[in-house]
Symmetry: C2
Subunit: 438 residues, 2 copies
Amino acid sequence: MKVQPRLYKGTRDFLPEQMIKRNYVISIIRGIFEKYGFEPLETPTIEMWDTLSGKYGEEGDRLTYRFTDRGDREVGLRYDLTVPFSRVMAMYPSLPKPFKRYQIQPVWRADKPQKGRFREFYQCDVDVVGSKSIIADAEVVAVIAEVLRTLNFRKFTIRVNSRKVLAGIVEASGAGADKEMDIYRSIDKLDKIGPEGVAKELENRGVSSAASGIILDLLKVEGSNKERLSIATQALEGSETGMEGIREVTELFSYLEKYGVGDDEYRFDLTLARGLDYYTGIICETVVEEPKIGSITGGGRYDNLIGMFSKNSIPATGGSFGLERIITVMDELDMFPPNLKTSTEVLVTVFNPDSLPYSIQVASELRAAGIKADLYTEKAKLNKQFKFANEKQIPFVIVAGPDEAERNEVALKKMASGDQETISLSQISARINALLER
Amino acid sequence: MKVQPRLYKGTRDFLPEQMIKRNYVISIIRGIFEKYGFEPLETPTIEMWDTLSGKYGEEGDRLTYRFTDRGDREVGLRYDLTVPFSRVMAMYPSLPKPFKRYQIQPVWRADKPQKGRFREFYQCDVDVVGSKSIIADAEVVAVIAEVLRTLNFRKFTIRVNSRKVLAGIVEASGAGADKEMDIYRSIDKLDKIGPEGVAKELENRGVSSAASGIILDLLKVEGSNKERLSIATQALEGSETGMEGIREVTELFSYLEKYGVGDDEYRFDLTLARGLDYYTGIICETVVEEPKIGSITGGGRYDNLIGMFSKNSIPATGGSFGLERIITVMDELDMFPPNLKTSTEVLVTVFNPDSLPYSIQVASELRAAGIKADLYTEKAKLNKQFKFANEKQIPFVIVAGPDEAERNEVALKKMASGDQETISLSQISARINALLER
């Protein structure tokens, strides 16, 4: 039965050229994660529904892929990496702490697909579990800054705030503590809907206009990080939680300086709230000026989440890179290095059926030396084989015909310049490695 | 609400020690795939149901995770990598051919979980599309042999057969061609249920006992590859398809010699059938003598599968590594190199809160030099920090207290020997890189 080949809406195939770019970014991210002492971890795609439900807020519950398996178990697909990881930390209490892990896996959201918004996309997370220390938060922010710098992001801002500071603002405004999550969700939309939009939302959520006014005034604070901190300190003096938040942010900033994170790379931003329920302390997310795309990293402290799976509450903090958005920005700003078109370095052509054994020998020689060598498998004129290499942008082509075979040589063509040279078989791998500058 | 933390049956968490082993195997597999000119590709987890249905046979349909999304679309989770890849090849007809891709992704099967059988597991596939040439099949077998050799498998056998040879056997037996798939599925169970079991299954499937007898006699062929080929040639002389199969297997073996695949590494095996519907030509799978675990690779030619999604039929051949079984074998036979316990190379301790800035400086220095350095974030005695490094098997520990800070030095302890030395901060990275032999 013939089937129309098509993708499920909101999902994508990654062809080699895209995969090579993705792998380039992931390999930089993974390398820096490991340099900072984070270790790899993976969790399953399918989780029991009660593991996922009620962890992300109302919207999260709605957008989680959920189904019943053949054994009538209610299950869901991984919605983020933090909640399954928290389950892991509760299940293996003997893991030595502080426990630092990274995790690079896809997640699924039953969202309406739009430009740049997918139903399956990758997250790259680092987390420190078992530490209340603000140094742990600083390590996460330092990782974020180093990844973005290494990927060649020139202008990024890590917005930093604290749920404790926000709780202080709610307290100072006189709105009830029961309104906190509602207020955070409205504040989180400030960039999208503006102060009037937030004011209207707060009104709809039953926040008094006096409280709403105080909150919106505080969100307007401007100036340097020091100036913002000092204004917030004055405003929140009456709130114990608020002051604790201010102290933690101040401590974080003092560490960031030691880590070499520039004062222009982060900003104390009272308007940052983050949408998810589970944050409890410092929160951060990264924005870029161009292109307009929303945040490319997010994260924060979640000291109570693991406790939802465990007798003991275990503090934790972390950050998450949105791979798709990072790649979109890098594509739009042309930030990828050249030569990411193909992983293949050499095409070994086959002159005619009789010379196939020699071509196999040449390809085997190259492969044994670690060179990525394709062998052309079809009967075709050399012309066509060169066209193939050209189309795929393979940088080198080798001709190994009967004449070359007789002299134990090959002809090597550099596709970029068109230059050709004849080299003995015993020298070919060294020559190509030299041309590839390694 | 407190939730009992638990896994969905048949799925696993991979903690760092397991992940490091998995990444070790995957990185060897990926490196060899690329050396042979295969390029990376990924497809989505969720596919439209009609993409998956009817491709794997009856059992496959039954074991595919299937559900309806919120938009009432019938979808399923990736069951293998070959069918989604075939959809890709039909959707992007302009991809230059022969098209060689590799794919390393998890797949899902709603199977009964057992020891060594999971509902989520990784496959690592290579495929060549757009080539009828047996060289393409040879490249796949050469990759399989090189991966297993590089992973240090000493005794493995790549069983090789051809669906055309099997069709010849069915033809020679006088059983109808409509019984082919039934017969293949029974033959495929020979190892599990023995000749009597197969005979009974064939009887149940309506194959005459005369035909069944001829088939079972042919499956008993023994001897060297050459001897087996010659006996099969005699038996199948009357079948055009069978003879074509024999010629292709003979051609494959002649190439394997050129690729340096040893005659003891593969075996012409008439009892190999493979369970999936879509194979059309050469098929192969790899078995190891110890431990008893079933096949660790599988694959073959599937010249008609892509045509199920496309106007044009496009030939294809490939192979698949079962990551979980490979890791199980390597674990049981103790084949992993030592020092795969942690990715972290150095723990930088914090002597006291005042010396934290110097410890951050030391960690930053190491990280800038590419060394994987963890920084201890908690207030704790040095003793406890050393115990932590010991438990995690981190090979080096650095003490950077006030005395060391004053002289711009650090104390470096090699955990294996207990040796300790004092080194200037400017030399520490070079020293550790030297100790790590790089």
